[in-house]
């Protein structure tokens, strides 16, 4: 008996009992769609974490210094700048400050960052109005400020903030630039920050040493190399006492987050797969009922020349068609539900073709595997007994 004829016959049997077919497929439908949705959400969140970490800067190395003895100074920063594989270095000092605009009618609590011109490139910032901190600002400890877009909006409304003055904890500064909006990521929101020259900030915050700096490797390939050079330099400065400083790069954080997310995705997908298997058991159950119900039909078919193989194939194909159909509906429902979830939460679930393909094939395989038992039972029925069955 031809394969296509078998599929047609299976489809007709399914069509003849639509409600039961649907209920049989329900397990597979739910299983397939939940695997697709959960994996899509998991992968979407992995991607958004990766994006937000990348947003902080690429090839970024962060160094924190926890001691003031020996003090780490701008001379050290300049030395690191000259290390092999290092493209840019930028010292950072930060604090919480109160801002007032020149009319002194609006007050805001924001983060203050003291840094140098290199900070803009390292953190991939861009200026929407005016300019960023310059070397001359650094040299002369100019009282200039670059403000985030939210700060600009809150303090100056629709007026241009450029060349306006600004009170930082009561001290008067001139706004020279506004940063393009970038949004927050990983607990830092550059839109709600005010940046002033590093040298000015040191005086302002009354510190002379550097407690944190960012370095950028000149390429992703040389990231580890640059990091190694920095670590070696730091070790020399701090006399090999690694408790006094820490060096880490963005990739490490990203890898950790990605691995956590992967585990979570696998876990969710695994749980959903169990429902797929339960769906397969549902198919097996119904196929057994179907074999019993159709014992007479099997007898008739055998009496007119159906071989075991024909009967086996008929029931196997029927189980597979059921699960494949359920799989298809599940894929459709899964894609729909993922999009719906994305729209409802404003996130972007990541649907991947390979996952969808795999889940679909898995559902078909489940139909075949769980169809084997009942199909085999049907094929083995002795024809006389089957014919006598009512």
């Amino acid at each position: 008996m031809g394969f296509i004829t078998s599929i047609k016959m299976a489809l007709r049997n399914i069509k003849g009992n639509k409600l039961r077919a649907f209920l049989t497929m329900l397990g597979i439908i739910i299983g397939v769609s939940s695997v697709i949705v959960l994996v899509a959400i998991g992968q979407g969140s992995t991607r958004s974490v990766t994006d937000s970490i990348n947003n902080l800067g690429t090839n970024l190395i962060t160094v924190n210094i926890t001691t003031t003895d020996p003090p780490f100074s701008l001379d050290n920063i300049n030395a690191i700048k000259k290390l092999n594989g290092v493209k840019n270095v930028s010292p950072v000092v930060s604090g919480r400050v109160t801002l007032k605009n020149n009319n002194e009618d609006t007050t805001e609590e924001v983060n203050l960052l003291g840094s140098d011109p290199a900070y803009k490139d390292i953190r991939i910032l861009s200026v929407s109005q005016g300019r960023f901190i310059s070397d001359i600002d650094m040299k002369f400890r100019q009282k200039v400020a670059v403000i985030g877009s939210t700060v600009a909006q809150n303090l100056f409304g629709n007026r241009s903030p450029i060349d306006q003055s600004l009170l930082i904890n009561g001290d008067r500064y001139t706004v020279v630039g506004v940063l393009a909006s970038k949004g927050g990521s990983m607990g830092q929101n550059i839109d709600e920050t005010v940046i002033i020259p590093f040298t000015t900030a040191q005086r302002f915050l009354n510190t002379t040493y550097i407690q944190q700096f960012y370095a950028q490797a000149d390429s992703a390939k040389r990231l580890d190399f640059a990091m190694l050079n920095i670590e070696r330099y730091m070790a020399q400065v701090f006399n090999y006492d690694t408790d006094n400083y820490s060096v880490f790069n963005q990739q490490d954080v990203m890898d950790t987050m990605a691995s956590v997310n992967r585990t979570l995705t696998l876990l969710l997908g695994g749980i959903a797969s169990i429902s797929l298997i339960v769906g397969g058991i549902g198919i097996m159950n119904i196929m057994f009922v179907s074999v019993t119900e159709r014992t007479k039909e099997i007898g008739i078919r055998k009496s007119i020349g159906a071989k075991r193989k024909n009967i086996l194939l008929q029931f196997l194909i029927e189980a597979s068609v059921l699960s494949a159909l359920g799989g298809l509906i599940g894929v459709g429902l899964g894609i729909f539900a993922s999009e719906l979830y994305g729209m409802a939460t404003g996130t972007a679930p990541s649907l991947s073709l390979s996952v969808i393909g795999f889940v679909f094939l898995f559902s078909v395989a489940i139909g075949v595997i769980f169809g084997v038992f009942p199909a085999n039972k049907a094929a083995k029925l002795p024809p006389i007994q089957a014919l006598r069955f009512d």
Binding site: M1, E297, G299, S303, I304, G305, K307, K309, I384
Partner: protein
């Protein structure tokens, strides 16, 4: 006389019913020639059905030989039996045994499907067979849309579709009223006139009379009927 088509030699079949052993067929000898119209009669429980199952290759004898068209078939495997049923035997059952979710045409096509024939060829032959039993206009009817007589005629068409050398009819009129039963018998008679070998199994003597030769089975033993001939041996 025409060629010998069936030869049963000392065929024995026993069943166990608990501790009780029932001899359903007790050393049966039977020869059927090509083109014959033979009826096998007997009361219920006489072994009729068992004989029919063995003749139809649905079951194997415990002992003895069954030679069908010169080929020993009493020791065949499952699949080989299926091939014989498909190619050598056309079954006509008391309850028609049509597949309820297939229409008349598809039911008639079934033996050819298992023979692996193409759709177009199947259709042509199945339509011709339906026409032969006078149901040309009913190809798309499902069995439950047909009367009993019509269903039996579809079953006859199905039996004819594979052009088997033997038609095996098991109480073909048993589920029909007298008039339609007679119609079915007319068709069988006509098919015999056309050259088909027919073996009819029935408990109804009136139906059996329409066959050219009658044998009777009682308690698993075969006796020649009124028109007995040399093909039957009495065994006591």
């Amino acid at each position: 006389m025409a060629d010998e088509i069936i030869r049963l030699q000392d065929v024995v079949k026993t069943y166990k019913m608990g501790d009780h052993v029932v001899k359903a067929l007790d050393h049966i000898n039977l020869i059927v020639h090509s083109g014959e119209f033979l009826s096998i009669t007997g009361p219920s429980g006489s072994g009729k059905s068992t004989l029919m199952n063995i003749l139809g290759c649905l079951d194997l004898p415990d002992d003895g030989e069954y030679i069908l068209e010169g080929r020993k078939v009493n020791q065949l495997k499952d699949n080989e039996m299926a091939v014989i049923r498909n190619q050598k035997i056309g079954f006509i059952f008391q309850n028609f045994n049509l597949i309820s979710n297939l229409n008349a045409l598809e039911n008639v096509e079934l033996p050819l499907i298992y023979r692996g024939w193409g759709a177009k060829q199947r259709r042509e032959i199945a339509l011709a067979c339906l026409e032969q039993v006078g149901l040309a206009g009913y190809a798309n009817h499902l069995p439950n849309q047909l009367s009993g007589g019509q269903q039996q005629r579809v079953a006859i068409a199905r039996a004819l579709a594979g052009t088997p050398p033997i038609l095996l009819a098991d109480e073909p009129t048993g589920a029909l009223d007298r008039r339609t039963g007679k119609e079915v018998m007319d068709i069988l008679e006509k098919l015999n006139t056309d050259g088909h070998t027919i073996i009819l199994i029935t408990h109804d003597m009136e139906v059996a009379q329409r066959a050219k030769r009658t044998v009777r089975i009682v308690d698993g033993r075969l006796y020649a009927g009124e028109e007995a001939d040399h093909g039957i041996h009495h065994i006591h």
